[in-house]
């Protein structure tokens, strides 16, 4: 077998970003039109002021989604959302998508029509065109890759690396709700498997379920910022959880940060799910590490405070600190917690 090498470093010993660094660090750029390569939400292409943004995102069955509780229409919608969210995170406007699927013969034509109905719904909602893709067979399950193409003027593009000390840290919507929805779905799945006659009552969780199953790219926020003449200094979408995304902004912008626990926007359903699940499950932990919220996390200059402070759907949660400072969260008890990707540890 070709993959049986003598050395063997398990992929599980590296995070996704460390892996990407290892695999792609020594790729040189040959073309003038490769304006920005690997390392942000999108690649930026073009030699003029008007740039093309391109991003690609893969979702694999059994990892990114569980067919037991994921309607295919929702899956199609979400796959497009995730790609468009990357365009939003660059402060761009999405225009086109290409969809590649690898699919096993377990799926029927009707099932794929449902998937594409969801893809179409998201495309129509955001005025985006499906312009290409391919279909191929797979031995097991469904793998869907969406490539999104967008546009932005050079001066308006927001990178992860543009934050400065004292910039305000803002986040849209609320955090941790998508993960709370997933927890509910996984709980109901276990109950259903034990008793196939079980009829789950999900109405009271409708908000968090929708947040997980059918998230929206926050292009409305991009538009609202534009209307107020605000260009964020840095931006990223919240796909892996707030902690992980804050660390990316700090790392690439060469800053520390300080966010306030009581400022983190958390929906009451998220809090309720946590208390139902376990007395040890804290809503703030879901917000920091849950992921899949697809909200926008961004920084603005202090001088933009008046313009941003009452912007609908935006929460100011903290500020960037000086180079070399850690990324921390301050609790209501004034304890400082150092943020870690996928987990956090008390400093005291």
């Amino acid at each position: 077998m070709a993959e049986n090498d003598e050395r063997r470093t398990e992929l599980s010993s590296l995070g996704e970003f460390a892996l990407i660094h290892r695999l792609t660090d020594d790729f040189p750029l040959h073309n003038d039109s490769s304006f920005r390569g690997i390392g942000d939400d999108c690649a930026v292409i073009g030699t003029g002021r008007h740039k093309t943004l391109v991003t690609t995102q893969t979702m694999a069955e059994g990892v990114a989604f569980d067919m037991t509780f994921t309607p295919l229409r929702h899956l199609g919608y979400k796959a497009v959302t995730i790609a468009l969210s990357n365009i939003a995170a660059m402060n761009g406007t999405p225009r086109q998508v290409l969809v590649s699927i690898a699919v096993s013969n377990r799926f029927s034509l009707e099932a794929l029509e449902e998937l594409y109905a969801g893809i179409r719904l998201c495309c129509d909602r955001y005025d985006v065109d499906l312009v290409g893709g391919d279909t191929s067979s797979s031995r097991s399950g469904l793998v869907i890759t969406v490539t999104a193409v967008g546009e932005a003027e050079e001066g308006a593009i927001t990178y992860r690396s543009g934050a400065h000390e004292k910039d305000l840290i803002c986040v849209s919507g609320d955090l941790g709700s998508a993960y709370s929805g997933l927890l509910i779905l996984e709980r109901e799945k276990v109950t259903f498997q034990a008793d196939p006659n079980f009829k789950p009552q999900l109405d009271e969780y409708s908000y968090v379920l929708e947040r997980y199953l059918k998230p929206e790219p926050r292009l409305d926020i991009v538009e609202r910022l534009r209307q107020r003449g605000i260009v964020p200094t840095s931006m990223i979408d919240v796909s892996d959880g707030l902690a992980s995304e804050l660390l990316h902004l700090c790392d690439l912008s060469e800053c520390g940060c300080e966010v306030y626990e009581e400022r983190l926007p958390i929906d009451y359903q998220t809090s309720r799910v946590c208390s139902e699940m376990s007395k040890n499950m804290l809503p703030v932990s879901n917000a920091l590490n849950g992921g899949e919220d697809y909200e926008l996390l961004f920084t603005v200059a202090q001088s933009d405070y008046e313009r941003i402070k009452d912007l609908e759907g935006i929460h100011i949660i903290g500020y960037m600190t000086e180079k070399g400072a850690p990324a921390v969260m301050v609790t209501p008890q004034n304890t400082t917690i150092t943020l870690r990707a996928q987990g956090w540890q008390a400093n005291v």
Copy 2:
């Protein structure tokens, strides 16, 4: 399970193109910049004369490749080739690729480094930049999706739909060799599985093996045509076999075609593999239906005959016929055979 619908049409009852039509036919285009959508080798994007070409291609383990005999370095190279070949088929110049992989923990970091070494080799060879992508886990095996971005002037772009009656049909390189390479690898795999001490002797098949394992995008042909000032009237790359691709050109250009069996370029190793495999296996059948050659099939106006007739690596194999006429191959015995995708039948 979400995919258990009442109606159930098996995917195997549709070809890939019929499936794509069913899934995507009613997607409207909203944006001026969506110059050309689904239905060609690439999407064409942009409002000015200078267009961006985008294409995406997925390869799934166990279907598009067999890890038993596919070195990961070759696989990485080939995955990029397939995407660049689509840019070549539009008469464009590739500039960037994005690579998404879904990978199971069966693969080590060292294995993925081999994969990316192959990706890099192909990128370096064709002056293409790796500018993005993502990695995710998969439950089983490796799925690799390459998105390629290229550029072309509007007037130089070649579509599948541009051929006219009497245009000359040309093909680069030779046909059927990649499939012959695959046949050899599959034969050696069976022998190896029966006797693990078996050491395959593959030197004498080196050409067809390379054609299968490490094909090249024919960007050299695009360049050569450009140097001679030839813009093909239509073009497609040979991924599914000559018959299938000719039928696409005929269908979309609303023409018939006539190609001559004795004109089809077939390497002697391809012929030899066929005779070794079975006395009933005809080299011409591999050329028509083998696929994965990634040669360019194109048409030029008769007025370009003098400029194309001695162009290195190009073979004129026939001509386009009038609307409504069938797509046929004429044998040396002057029998006319109607071409079918994946198989052909004698007309008598």
